[in-house]
Amino acid sequence: MKNSITLVFVIMTVIVTASCTKVIDMNLKDVPVKTVIQAEILTDSFALVRVTKTAPYLENSPTPIITNAFIVISDDLGAKDTLDHIGDGYYKGDIIVGNTARVYNLSVDADGKVYTATTTIPTGVSFVITGRNYVSATEANRFHKEGYYPTIKTTLPPGDSYYLFKYYKNDSLYVPEGAEDDIFISDSKFIGTEIDGYETPYEYQLGDVARIDIYRITKEGYNFYNELSAQLNNDGGFFSTPPANTSTNFSNGAVGVFLGASRETESLTIVP
């Protein structure tokens, strides 16, 4: 929500300065290397964790992955699950399946340090795709391109709740050109209970299979993605809040978040 208020200024910035950009070289301050933990436990899924390290900002090399971490997830009933490395720094469990009634602890032992975090899984919010809106070529503009926009109907639970949206086109993550830095998150702060007609941000064409995943996430997860989004879409602090480090629920100075989430999925094939 915050984003749509400041969006106007991002657009102004783009308009005012459309043509005048230049890639520059600057000496950036070094920061000590940190362990990065991308961890999630979803309802009806095993825990999935990726462990990597930070790299100098402008250095053209992939971020290093850690393949020898010792990772254990446990719940408040005493169940334990040691995650196995499955390649590319990813680790997966095979015992504990995410459940909204449990509290989960994650322990990551990597490069001689132990990082721990705790999360719960909020109850999912089901939704339906009610149809799609069509934007014709004459109605289209740069924020609303020509095409079909599936619409969502749902009812939000009372109290504060937090969401992450992912959009797929024909079973692959839908990232239109120029939208690489878009993260779709929302809190319920300004939103009413009944939602009907909420459109996807991107257009689909006839024949496409549109899939929408809505994750109800924890507050910590929302904060992390919100801050990551602010980093990705920052204007250097001219109009928006200056970018800052993301927050974390991990101990011991790791970067990342242990995310608990419920996922709901719906699809629609776009037909005339």
Binding site: I5, L58, G192
Partner: protein, 779 residues
């Protein structure tokens, strides 16, 4: 503090003592420009052969008390030539009428200051710009701007290209009291800070105080920018205006009743969007981007002792992109003023002021994502000021003021029936404020003059309102309770004494030393985490959580004039300490946050520096050079791990050169050059990969500096010869902003290269050079 009070009392005793000794009479009156009837501020009345004298106040009034006898008064004002007047002083004399007669044949330019003011005045760290000077400088998009002029003065830093924020001696852009005809302006920017709200055609003068702020004014930590609009011509009708590339201006003025009353109305509008209307595409025609403003003034001289003024300003910005986005904002101010001369020694000014600022934004995507967001604040103030001139040794000012403010921190509401949003409104804040002040400019002898002032403010945040209480640290998780306050119920009271001291020691006719000490309180806080003066920023009053910010500043300077006051030079040093200065936690959530205190930390900021200034005032070539060395740092617990960091507008070196040259009556050229150390910014030191995105790890706050800023602008004015014989006088102004197309970073973004996928830094800069042409006229 006790010492100060005793000192003030001492002055009063000495005043009465002086009065008892000798038979004295008072010469008083108004000094005006002959052709327009405009009051002259700061005209000097000297008694020939002595060092006795007086200066006209903001309303052109002066009072001079001398022993019985005969005198020759010398009245001087830059651009007017001197007037000498014999006076037989056997009783109190009023001189306004004669002055007008004398000045009838003098060329009228409303510039004006005492020729040797730089050296003789007790004021330091102050700069006056007149309308004429303001108009001569090169302009961005042909739009002459007083704030841009002020940014060329020593001690004033800029945030970046085309930004009208003022950063005075290490102070933030919210620490300037910007007054237009005594009404505060809360957001002095148009077009997101590219222009200021002040239309140069309507202005009479602008005075910036970086220190030594008179006791009459308070409420901001770092500076006072006192802008006065013209009163309007009392003698004849006239019009001035300009037609530019992006905007046009028109000012009409004249007598309502000759020599008794006048009016002035001045308007300005940008019309970039009018060209959009020519577009064949309906959607493009539906876009809007403009601002306009209107200044109006009415001025009535009821009789010799009473004058009233009405002044108003209204401005709006509007940006609309098709049916998806719309935002508008603006200030409105109104001033009613009554000048009353009680007697030859006591001048009174009663002022009623209203000022408001409003912002509104609409977003609509298909009716489902549709909302309006609005914020604003309004202030009403009643002030009573007195000037008392008991003898030539003392100029006393004192007064009282009361104000009420209402702050609307934000309302968010759905604008369609099927909008997914719900209405959210933050509770208003309200505050009342009372101020008392007393100041005496005491001329101890011809070398030493001191100005001693004291201001006391009592500030209370009052209901209706809601205040959150916390257990332990002020965090959202720690909310204990909410307390509701009813109308005008006291929520929290703050107050304090603000001493203002300055002194001048005249070494000789050409040089002086000045020192000053100032304490200022600021009771309203701008909640803004961006460098640009954004319109949706909200103000909050001091309460339990926001303590009033306090600045203590000491400054000392050496002032020297050369070649019969043609050149003036100064060197000043200052140290400023500010407490309870606000900064924001990482990733602060400032929009519509009912617990805004959880996002803010307060601590100390300090700044010190050296400012050098050299100005050539008369001749074919005029201009100035200014250089500032300064350092501004902050240390705030909870921010940057409690470690010291640089303010985002900290610039070590700032250099400005302004040159104006008149080749002939027809051709004149002006140029300015600006250089400043790059400002510190927060850029990441490392990156990380997460869920397909590239995140960043930032080192300490503002740890990297952008490259130095530099730019040169030129402006060329041609005045056709036929002007001399015609009533219609026109001139062409051609200007080029950033002549050599220096690429100054407006901001730097972290971006991903689309082809390689590597991270890089992208600088955004203003297109350059920007040429513009304006046709100015008067008739």
């Amino acid at each position: 503090m006790r010492f100060l009070i005793l000192l003030s009392v001492g002055f009063w005793l000495s005043i009465t003592g002086v009065l008892a000794q000798q038979k004295k009479h008072t010469i008083s009156g108004n000094i005006k420009a002959g052709k327009t009837g405009e009051d002259l501020i700061g005209a000097v009345i000297m008694v020939k052969g002595t060092s006795e004298g007086a200066v006209t106040n903001e309303y052109g009034f002066f009072s001079l008390t001398l022993p019985e006898g005969s005198y020759t008064l010398v009245i001087s004002y830059l651009g007017f030539g001197k007037i000498e007047k014999e006076v037989q002083l056997t009783e109190n004399v009023r001189l306004p009428f004669e002055m007008e007669e004398e000045s009838e044949d003098i060329e009228v330019i409303v510039t004006g200051e005492r020729e040797d003011k730089n050296v003789t005045d007790t004021k330091m760290s102050a700069q006056t710009l007149t309308a004429e000077q303001i108009k001569k400088l090169p302009a961005l998009f042909g739009e002459v701007d007083v704030i841009k002029n002020i940014q060329t003065l020593p001690g004033v830093a800029i945030a970046g290209e085309g930004n009208t924020g003022l950063y005075v001696r290490g102070g933030g852009s919210d620490q300037n009291l910007i007054l237009i005809d005594e009404a505060p302006v809360f957001n002095a920017s148009h077009l997101l800070g590219i222009f200021s709200v002040f239309n140069s055609d309507a202005l009479k003068s602008a005075e910036l105080y970086k220190a030594g702020i008179p006791a009459q004014y308070g409420g901001r930590l770092s500076s006072l920018l006192d802008i006065r609009t013209r009163d309007g011509n009392m003698k004849k009708y006239s019009a001035t205006g300009g037609i530019g590339l992006i905007s046009s201006r028109l000012t009409l003025e004249g007598p309502i009743q000759k020599d008794k009353s006048s009016f002035l109305i001045s308007g300005r509008r940008t019309y970039a969007d009018l060209f959009l209307k020519l577009s064949p595409d309906e959607k493009t025609r539906n876009n809007q981007l403009y601002f306009y403003d209107v200044n109006a003034k009415l001025n009535f001289k009821l009789n010799d002792n009473n004058r009233i003024f009405f002044a108003g300003y209204f401005g709006r910005d509007l940006f609309k992109f098709q049916d998806n986005f719309k935002m508008g904002w603006g200030n409105g101010t109104g001033t009613f003023r009554w000048n009353h001369i009680f007697n030859d020694k006591v001048f009174s000014n009663t002022t009623l002021i209203y000022s408001s600022f409003k912002y509104s934004q609409d977003i609509n995507f298909g009716g489902v994502q549709a909302f309006n967001y609005s914020t604003g604040l309004a202030e009403t103030t009643l002030k009573q000021d007195f000037s008392y001139y008991p003898s030539t040794k003392h100029d006393v000012t004192f007064g009282i003021a009361g104000s009420y403010r209402n702050y609307k921190p934000g309302t968010f509401k759905p604008t369609t029936d099927n909008s997914i949003f719900k209405e959210t409104k933050l509770a208003d804040y309200n505050s009342i404020e009372g101020a008392l002040y007393l100041s005496d400019k005491y001329k101890i002898n011809h070398r030493i003059t001191v100005e001693v002032g004291l201001r006391y403010v009592l500030f209370a945040t009052v209901g209706p309102g809601t205040v959150y209480t916390y257990n332990g640290e002020i965090k959202k998780e720690n909310i204990r309770d909410t307390v509701q306050y009813s109308s005008f119920q006291n929520v929290q009271t703050h107050g304090g004494l603000e001493p203002r001291l300055s002194g001048r020691y005249l070494i000789n006719d050409q040089s002086s030393i000045k020192v000053s000490y100032n304490r200022n309180y600021q009771y309203i806080h701008l909640i803004s985490n961006a460098l640009s003066p954004l319109p949706f920023n909200m103000w909050v009053p001091s309460n339990q959580y926001f303590k009033p910010a306090i600045a203590d500043q000491v400054a000392a300077g050496y002032f020297r004039n050369f070649k019969e006051n043609k050149w003036e030079a100064s060197a000043e040093i200052y140290y400023k300490n500010m407490t309870n200065v606000l900064d924001y936690i990482d990733n602060a959530d400032l929009l519509l946050n009912p617990q805004i205190e959880t996002q803010v930390k307060s601590g100390r900021a300090w700044s010190y520096g050296l400012e050098l200034f050299l100005k050539k005032k008369t001749g074919k070539t005029t201009g100035w050079v200014s250089y500032t060395w300064s350092k501004t740092q902050r240390q705030i617990p909870g921010i940057n791990n409690g470690e010291t960091y640089y303010a985002s507008y900290d610039r070590r070196h700032n250099f400005n050169l302004v040159v104006l040259h008149e080749f002939s009556d027809r051709y004149s050229l002006s140029a300015n050059f600006v250089y400043g150390t790059g400002r510190p910014v927060g850029l990441p030191g490392a990156r990380f990969e997460y869920d397909g995105y590239v995140g960043a790890v930032y080192p300490a706050r503002n740890s990297v500096r952008l490259k130095a800023y530099n730019r040169m602008d030129i402006s060329f004015t041609i005045t056709p010869r036929k002007n001399k014989t015609r009533k219609w006088k026109g001139s062409w102004n051609f200007s080029i902003y950033n002549v050599y197309a220096s690429k100054n970073p407006w901001t730097v973004l972290t971006t991903t290269n689309k082809d390689t996928g590597n991270q890089e830094l992208t600088m955004i800069y203003f297109p350059a050079p920007i040429p513009s042409v304006t046709y100015n006229f008067t008739f």
